[in-house]
Subunit: 239 residues, 2 copies
């Protein structure tokens, strides 16, 4: 599904990362499993991730000072450990587990799809993850970003307009020359309201293989694709 001419002037593809480029659920679950805690790893992963939006909302409201995602992740992790009554982890193991977000595994098509898209566009991250996290992840997962942009650069978390508009400003292009690629319609809607183009990528099993999510096309998006390879085919064909 692609609208005619939507990408005539497209110059920059900005990617949401958690869930869109990498499989956070499978990766966090694997690391939790290896710790042999008395807990269901899939559930632990979902609970940790569920703390993410409320924690960022506390920063957006000013209740918490600006801090990078590593620090928010740690606050949430300690809450989750308490909730699950886990007190067997050493401080070093907690710190290591907290950085599992730096080690998330890309979806099988991510590196190849990004390499294809990189031939025609500037490809960058636009993630709430901090720069160090995204850099470590890219290095381990061979993600060939032209540039790593993050809420840490703009000092605002998505969906603050300054993040989406910030991409356009960094590259000195119009908002309509930037496309956000994401597996989440709320992120895409916020980008669209700032004038960006939008591409939805299905990540059907983002929350685990037993929690298939609704990936029905939303007609407001310019593109709907199964994965990054299909996205590259669509953007190349309609060029």
């Amino acid at each position: 599904m692609a609208r005619n001419g939507f990408n005539n002037n497209l110059k920059v593809l900005a990617f949401d990362v958690f869930g869109t480029v990498v499989d956070w659920h499978g990766s966090v679950m694997r690391e939790v499993s290896e710790l042999n805690l008395n807990v269901e790893p899939a559930e632990f992963a979902r609970r940790w991730r569920a703390g993410y939006a409320p924690a960022m909302a506390r920063v957006a409201s000013g209740e918490l000072n600006w801090m990078k995602l590593d620090d928010l992740h740690e606050i949430i992790l300690r809450e989750v450990l308490e909730e699950f009554k886990i007190d067997s982890l050493s401080e070093a193991k907690i710190q290591h587990l907290n950085r599992c977000w730096h080690r998330l595994t890309p979806w099988p098509d991510s590196a190849e799809g990004l390499s294809l898209l990189k031939q025609d566009y500037i490809i960058c991250t636009l993630s709430n993850g901090n720069i160090g996290l995204l850099t470590n992840m890219a290095k381990a997962g061979h993600l060939p970003w032209d540039c790593i942009l993050s809420s840490e650069v703009f000092r605002h978390y998505k969906p603050h307009p300054q993040t989406y508009l910030g991409v356009a400003r960094v590259f000195d292009v119009a908002p309509s020359e930037v496309m956000l690629v994401a597996a989440h319609n709320n992120d895409l809607a916020a980008a669209r309201s700032c004038g960006l183009k939008t591409a939805y990528v299905e990540r059907r099993f983002e929350f685990g293989v037993d929690q298939e999510k609704d990936v029905s096309p939303c007609e407001k998006n310019d593109v709907h694709a199964i994965d990054f390879i299909e996205l590259a085919n669509i953007l190349t064909k309609s060029n």
Copy 2:
């Protein structure tokens, strides 16, 4: 020249860019030549670059509001055009010329040397160039940065300590785990005073083939190398 054990804990190599990674003088001179202006291109390039430090000092002092280097370059360019009494350039040509800094050519060893260094270290820019400029330059010159860091991220120009310390903070490492690589001893001295390791790279003809510069080793630097290939050899050997 390398000190024993200086890189035991080295994790991040941060590179100055103009002059260190790319040949600004040769590149600007070439673009000016192609415009057939009534001016000596080598001299024009040096004069434009000479306006750089004073312009940044005006931002550091607060006389000018923070602005990205593209905008400072444009202010200086208009001064230089006036000084050389050039009024034949259209507005579009001035804008295009101003962006010649996005198109600077890497030194012959840069891409290969960076690829070698990338195997063992996080490699990032630490440049006063803006993010868009550095991204466009990397894409055209195949510079395989893990991450693009810029004064634009830290909202301070080098040699402000927040730029050098900002690299350590972004990657959550100690300043001594970061090495600045540069062809300029003043940049390296500022990094050293913040606790970073330093590597000087000769770029003997940075100011043109007829303006060979003094590249004598300074004993305060941890490494002195002719180019990035030698730097990779030194850092690998002493690992």
